[in-house]
């Protein structure tokens, strides 16, 4: 596998210019993610309403993979129900772990496609946690609500 397959232009672009990259003043939910191995620290902010992700943003510093993954995640999560978000996480997690991907419901397939540039990570076991850090933080935020919490991966 060529490095270029991992560092596709879209990854480099989201790594350099992450979308939805800002704090929220009054998130309904938020959480910190920390990967001590590479020092990546990320905070995910959520605005949930009626069981849907009304808004999502993030802040922090990290490697290109974790930053791009967080950025792409915020793009696909906007407007999703919690069940849809969970289905996307499960499919994405399986994809980067190289395990069997559960069937993705038809309406989510376009969103899942948008995460495809990260697929290359599965050939780099040491980097999988970079790609999943934001998602783990998202999950933790759902559980911890407006008080915040920290999830660590390594």
């Amino acid at each position: 596998m060529e490095t270029r397959d991992l560092y596709q232009d879209i990854i480099l672009d989201h790594g350099r210019k992450p979308r939805n990259f800002h704090a929220m003043e009054h998130p309904s939910h938020f959480a910190h993610g920390h990967n001590p191995l590479c020092g990546d620290r990320i905070t995910i902010y959520l605005e949930l309403a009626d069981g849907r992700v009304k808004d999502v943003s993030f802040e922090g510093r990290g490697c290109a993979i974790s930053t791009a993954s967080a950025s792409l995640m915020t793009e696909v999560l906007k407007g999703k129900t919690l069940a849809e978000a969970d289905a996307l996480f499960k499919a994405f997690h399986a994809e980067v772990m190289g395990t069997e991907i559960p069937p993705v419901p038809e309406p989510l397939q376009d969103d899942f496609e948008r995460l495809a540039p990260l697929e290359g990570v599965k050939a780099y076991p040491a980097r999988v946690k970079c790609a999943t850090l934001a998602w783990h933080a998202f999950e933790t935020a759902l559980k911890s609500g407006a008080v915040g919490a920290t999830v660590k991966t390594e």
Binding site: E2, T3, L6, Y7, L12, G15, R16, P36, L37, C38, G39, D40, R41, R61, G62, C63, A64, I65, Y124, A126, R127, C130
Partner: protein, 414 residues
């Protein structure tokens, strides 16, 4: 003994010839291995010594009357003698075989520390320490309540000796310090620190993990009280390392782990313990590890320790030259003398991304906090990229590193 090792004993050695002693490079041609600070590769002599031992002479040690066991015990004790000679210890009984530096420091903390430290006492470490020389002291501190003090680095990245001296006082019972910082390559003036410690009646433990494979170490000349190193960083097998301790100290120390071989007499009421080193080696030791380590020490001495030190210094100088001429590359400060290890950052490329891209160019380096998170925090870095040298590296490896860094810079350029 390899040709490379033999010819090198006098006038330096040829790393390209040395490299041929290491089968990993034959089997992975093109790999540029710059991570010896994490663990060194093994010469064929070490690998074969371990196999030969299992094929010809293996049995458990110490208690067998029969020939194989006698032979095995002899080889194991010869390995202890070999390690004693390597460190110039006064007596082989001052050498305790442990899994590695981590277990060695834990042994000192749990045996000497638990018996001698009390609330109000102070233990001094430095900001340059590896987690192995931080966390065990914290665990015992949380139980006993002594104070763990930390000598800071100065702006150059070396230990601030004036502050260190001021932190050693009458309450200081132990000064535990690395001889060569694994995260930055800063060489620490441990001789001076040991003198300062002794002047105030404190003991000194030296973490020799990175120094012992790279330079001459004489524990009697240093006059340190404890010294630890890991075999796997000395071109030896995994699972073995050495704790050196002054005999008089070891003799007063209570056992730590309990089990076979470390006891003189056991009843259900009371147990009496062996003299050192047996007192501290509970259970069946890593026999083949010790024997392989002895062969690794032979290999090092055959190359010549001064020759190795000169080689590491040359590579370090060359690497400093190459990296500091590269735009966007910044060496992490490492005090007065940087030795064997180069820790650096590249603008706009996260160390983790950099390491992945270097790997694609067959350049193996380490990225991260190097088990020295507090130092990283102090330097306000989340992580660095680290290249470290062994006897098999040469200047072309550094050129390959530089070329791969350039490729990463191009990829990440806006």
């Amino acid at each position: 003994m390899s040709v490379a090792a033999k010819s090198g004993a006098r006038a330096g050695f040829d790393p390209r010839a040395v490299k041929r002693d290491f089968p990993i490079f034959t089997n992975n041609p093109g790999v540029v291995f710059l991570d010896s600070a994490a663990s060194a590769q093994k010469p064929a002599s070490v690998i074969d010594r371990v196999s030969d031992f299992y094929r010809h002479d293996y049995a458990n040690v110490h208690r067998g009357v029969y020939r194989l066991s006698v032979k095995s015990s002899e080889l194991y004790e010869n390995a202890r003698d070999r390690a004693a000679k390597f460190l110039n210890a006064a007596d082989p009984s001052e050498i305790i075989f442990v899994r590695g530096a981590t277990e060695g420091i834990n042994l000192v903390v749990y045996s000497w520390g638990a018996a001698n430290l009390k609330a109000g006492d102070e233990v001094l470490i430095t900001e340059l320490e590896h987690h192995a020389n931080i966390v065990p002291w914290q665990i015992l501190r949380d139980r006993i309540g002594f104070t763990l003090k930390v000598a800071p680095i100065d702006a150059t990245g070396g230990i601030d000796m004036a502050v260190l001296e001021s932190l050693i006082g009458p309450k200081t019972k132990m000064v535990a310090v690395t001889q060569l910082a694994n995260a930055t390559g800063a060489l620490v003036p441990v001789e001076a620190i040991i003198r300062l410690a002794h002047a105030k009646g404190a003991l000194a433990l030296i973490d020799g993990c990175q120094a012992a494979p790279r330079m001459m170490v004489d524990v009697q000349a240093l006059d340190c009280d404890f010294y630890v190193f890991s075999g796997h960083k000395m071109y030896g097998p995994t699972g073995i390392g050495v704790l050196y301790g002054k005999r008089a100290l070891l003799q007063e120390m209570p056992p730590w782990q309990g089990g076979g071989d470390m006891i003189l007499n056991v009843t259900f009421e009371k147990t009496t313990f062996q003299e050192p080193p047996a007192r501290f080696e509970a259970g069946t030791p890593d026999i083949s590890g010790a024997i392989g380590l002895a062969t690794a020490l032979d290999y090092i001495d055959a190359l010549g320790r001064d020759a190795i030190a000169a080689h590491e210094a040359e590579l370090t100088e060359y690497g400093i030259g190459v990296l500091s001429r590269m735009p966007g590359v910044k060496l992490v400060p490492a005090g007065q003398r940087r030795f064997g290890i180069l820790s650096f950052g590249v603008d706009g490329v996260h160390p983790h991304d950099l390491a992945t891209i270097l790997d694609q160019h067959s350049v193996a380096v380490r990225a991260g906090h190097h088990c020295a998170q507090p130092l990283m925090d102090k330097l306000n870095l989340a992580a660095t990229t680290r290249a470290s040298f062994g006897v098999y590296n040469d200047e072309r490896d550094i050129d390959s590193l530089a070329a791969a860094i350039k490729a990463a810079q191009v990829m990440f350029a806006d």
